[in-house]
């Protein structure tokens, strides 16, 4: 128990940025748009969150700022992919490179600065439950928001009209269009919302997790999130499981290092990424044995109404 609780707690803490990024990408991909710019969006989100928190002193304004920056990047991505019908992979990769470069230039002045950031806020009663309490209910409010987001998205996708239209757009845009759903409007809206959520993931790193800014501070978490979307088979609850699993692996390797293990540190630091590869392998093997439900069938394909077959 004494080992499990701190690892679980750390798993939730370091898994949350990945969770936000994964949920954001699920929202985007459900509509059929692939956004590979997560890493860049997270970095700009982390930067914006930190800069706004620093200058206003209010971390929640920082989070809101990050969300807006994400929305703007999502707008650019949807303009390229929906209006111009450009290549979604190329646009996403460009977004990653842009975000990485822009955040490190803009963030130069903030290196070494710290902020108050979001405080821990144990939830009364819930935090006293053994194991579960300290692991899940002694965190900052942004982490609690992510629990809410997971539950909300599960409900949104299955029980609401807008959720149904979103899934229809990603599964068969031709049919959605024929039924009177605006494919372009749906894709624009959810690509922007999705990117906003991804940016909040970045902001959690700078405003709540580390309370500082560092160049490339997401360190590949955006890419892990891209893989996690597939791992979760586009389901928000499985995304939470996956994100905490990765967070746990990361926390575990840190703890092993601290305990003075003889395994060289670089090998331990590879663990989360090795696990990404393992998960993708597992998924592709399973995929060969039948279709996976939940995967948007029209993911990554632009939609032309008057194209003839």
């Amino acid at each position: 128990m004494e080992i499990l609780v701190p690892i679980l707690t750390a798993a939730v803490r370091s898994g949350t940025p990945i969770l936000y990024a994964t949920l954001g990408e699920i929202v985007t991909e459900k509509g059929g748009i692939l956004n590979l710019g997560l890493e860049g969006i997270m970095l700009l989100g982390a930067y914006a969150g930190f800069a706004v928190s620093y200058s206003t002193g209010n971390p929640w304004l920082g989070v809101a700022g990050a969300f807006c920056v994400g929305m703007i990047l999502g707008l650019v991505h949807s303009f390229i992919c929906v209006t111009l019908k450009g290549n979604q992979v190329v646009s996403g990769l460009a977004m990653t490179m842009f975000g990485t470069g822009a955040s490190s230039i803009l963030g130069r002045d903030y290196v070494g600065v710290t902020i108050e950031g979001l405080h821990r806020f144990p939830i009364p009663l819930l935090s006293d439950i053994p194991v579960v309490g300290p692991a899940f209910f002694r965190h900052d409010a942004l982490i609690y928001c992510s629990y809410g987001l997971v539950v909300f998205l599960c409900w949104f996708f299955t029980s609401t009209r807008q959720g149904l239209y979103l899934r229809a757009t990603g599964d068969n845009p031709r049919a959605a269009d024929a039924m009177g759903i605006s494919v372009a409007r749906t894709r624009y809206f959810y690509t922007m919302i999705g990117a906003g959520i991804v940016a909040v993931g970045g902001a959690h790193m700078s405003v709540a997790y580390t309370k500082m800014w560092a160049e490339h501070m997401t360190a590949g978490r955006g890419w892990i999130a891209v893989a996690l979307v597939i791992f979760a088979i586009w389901h928000p609850a499985r995304a939470a499981f996956g994100a905490y699993l990765f967070g746990g692996v990361e926390a575990f390797q840190l703890r092993l290092q601290a305990a003075g293990t003889t395994i060289p540190a670089p090998i331990l630091m590879m663990l989360p990424y090795l696990m990404t590869i393992a998960v993708l392998l597992f998924i592709s093997i399973r995929k060969g044995k039948g279709i996976i439900f939940g995967a948007p069938a029209a993911l990554g394909l632009p939609f032309f109404r008057e194209e003839r077959d």
């Binding site: 269009d177 024929a178 759903i181 039948g290 008057e306």
Partner: protein, 522 residues
């Protein structure tokens, strides 16, 4: 058939013109629909029927012409506008989301629903509509689990759910058994008796004669005429549709089958979803005969062709070609073993659209002499081979350097036939070889297949056109859920009802018994 009220015009389309990248799909076409009538839209493939209806449904914007709904001129910028105006369309390829349930599909794009979906009320309304129109369907089933006939019912219900009073059915019977088609006609009659207007797109004369009140005929994108069904005949319609008196008869010599060439022994294979598509199928095609495969689309015909051609894994059983076991061999080995495959998907599996005619012509022989020497392509040989194909199979093209994507459907098919049939092959798999072709090209394709048979080829012919199968086949196998329901000898003389029953899953002996005739089994 109810008497339509001729005064009430629901929709009028005037002088509609629609062009696609230089091709005129509709040229000044007039069309209208009255309340309580079935108005058939008749024409060959490519005559512009679907395009005209897509304009009506707001999918395409016309380049010129006017559209009047309920007395008011309208301009639709998307299907949403058409739906609001009360127009519903059931497409040939249903616009359904396979991974979602029936009720979820039902409410896509429906106005005025609350944000949190009232599942109970939706179920009730589906129930009520299915009862009224005889369209039984389980609201909680997922679309991919449904048969094509059931999916069609969902697509029709979808339109009724949003209170469409003009319903366009785009070739609705192409995917149905004769019995299912009869049920569909009952539903259509129920709708017209309630004052709905139905547009029935088809190229099947018998259905048009039996169901419609009026017929509009299109030919090559132009309006040929609109006539009352009661005052016309099949022959007159056919003449208007084709433009000349075209008596279509296949000159067929009597076949003299020899030893078996293509043999399938208890073959099992899965479909793309991983479910059984071929379930222990056994059949053989002999030297010098055409074996037709009939069946409703999606009963394993496509998977069978792919399994023989080596493009789909055979889970169990054996496939022998000319006596050699080629089960799960590499496609190249199967090609060398004498199998010539004419796939349904011409631009996907059959040809490489961005490569030119000469390159496409050697796709299955680039490793053989004289086209290839010591690992190099001898282009001089390739060009002369391609030129020879183009002239022998009358492919009309500017040059042999033309990319294949610029060829019309008929010329694509001629090129592919040339590639597959030019050196009197032993085993031929032809999947929907005349699909989407005009009359002349269809005739050419059929003649070529018969010629291949006459020089000793074993031809496996898959088609959805029952008339074609009956005319071409020496024997006819009917497939249902991946099994052969029976092989009919002398199919031209077999009762259609029996074949219909077999397509719906009845074994041959039983089907012939209930069709009131003696079956002549293999």
């Amino acid at each position: 058939m109810g008497t339509p009220d001729p005064s009430r015009l629901l929709v009028r389309m005037e002088k509609i013109t629609k062009r696609f990248a230089g091709v005129t799909a509709n040229q000044e076409v007039d069309f209208d629909v009255r309340a309580g009538e079935v108005h058939a839209l008749l024409g060959e493939n490519g005559a512009g029927k679907s395009t005209l209806m897509s304009v009506l449904y707001g999918l395409y914007r016309p380049d010129s012409g006017t559209l009047t709904v309920g007395g008011r001129e309208v301009s639709f910028s998307s299907p949403r506008d058409a739906i609001t105006a009360g127009i519903g369309m059931v497409h040939q390829h249903f616009m359904l989301i396979p991974s979602q349930t029936v009720w979820e599909n039902m409410i896509l794009g429906v106005d005025g629903l609350p944000s949190v979906l009232p599942k109970r009320a939706i179920h009730d309304r589906i129930e009520e509509l299915s009862q009224r129109y005889g369209l039984a369907v389980d609201p909680d089933a997922r679309i991919w689990q449904l048969s094509i006939g059931e999916q069609q019912r969902v697509a029709i219900l979808q339109m009724l759910y949003r209170r469409a009073n003009i319903l366009v059915l785009d070739e609705p019977t192409a995917v149905l058994t004769p019995q299912e088609a009869e049920r569909l006609f009952e539903t259509v009659r129920q709708m017209t008796s309630e004052g709905h207007g139905v547009v029935f797109i088809s190229h099947k004369m018998a259905e048009v004669m039996g169901l419609s009140n009026r017929v509009t005929i299109l030919r090559k994108g132009r309006h040929v005429g609109t006539v009352d069904t009661a005052s016309t005949t099949k022959e007159k319609l056919a003449e208007m549709m084709v433009g000349q008196k075209m008596v279509f008869k296949i000159e067929k010599k009597i076949s003299s089958p020899g030893r078996p060439i293509i043999e399938c022994e208890s073959v099992r294979a899965l479909n793309d979803r991983g479910f059984p598509a071929i379930a222990g199928l056994t059949l053989s095609v002999r030297e010098g005969e055409i074996l037709g495969i009939a069946g409703v689309a999606g009963n394993g015909q496509a998977e069978l062709c792919e399994a023989i051609a080596g493009l789909r894994r055979v889970e169990s059983g054996r496939i022998l070609i000319n006596g050699a076991d080629l089960t799960n061999s590499l496609p190249k080995k199967i090609i060398d073993g004498g199998v010539h495959y004419i796939p349904a998907d011409r631009k996907g599996t059959g040809l490489v659209p961005n490569m030119n005619i000469s390159e496409n012509s050697i796709l299955k022989r680039y490793w053989n002499k004289p086209v290839s020497k010591r690992g190099f392509i001898v282009w001089r040989e390739v060009f002369s081979f391609a030129r020879d194909l183009v002239s022998r199979y009358s492919v009309s093209t500017p040059s042999i350097g033309t990319p294949v994507r610029n060829l019309s459907g008929g010329n694509l098919q001629k090129l592919m036939l040339g590639r597959e049939l030019s050196d009197s092959p032993k085993a031929i798999i032809a999947a929907h070889p005349t699909w989407g072709l005009d009359v002349a090209a269809t005739k050419f394709v059929r003649e070529q297949l018969l010629a291949a048979r006459d020089v000793g080829g074993a031809v496996l012919l898959v088609s959805e056109d029952l008339d074609e199968l009956l005319a071409m086949s020496d024997r006819l196998a009917v497939m249902f859920k991946g099994e052969v329901m029976g092989v009919i000898e002398n199919p031209a003389g077999a009762p259609i009802e029996a074949i219909g029953l077999m397509m719906a899953g009845t074994r041959m002996e039983e089907a012939f018994a209930s069709a009131g005739k003696e079956g002549r089994s293999a």
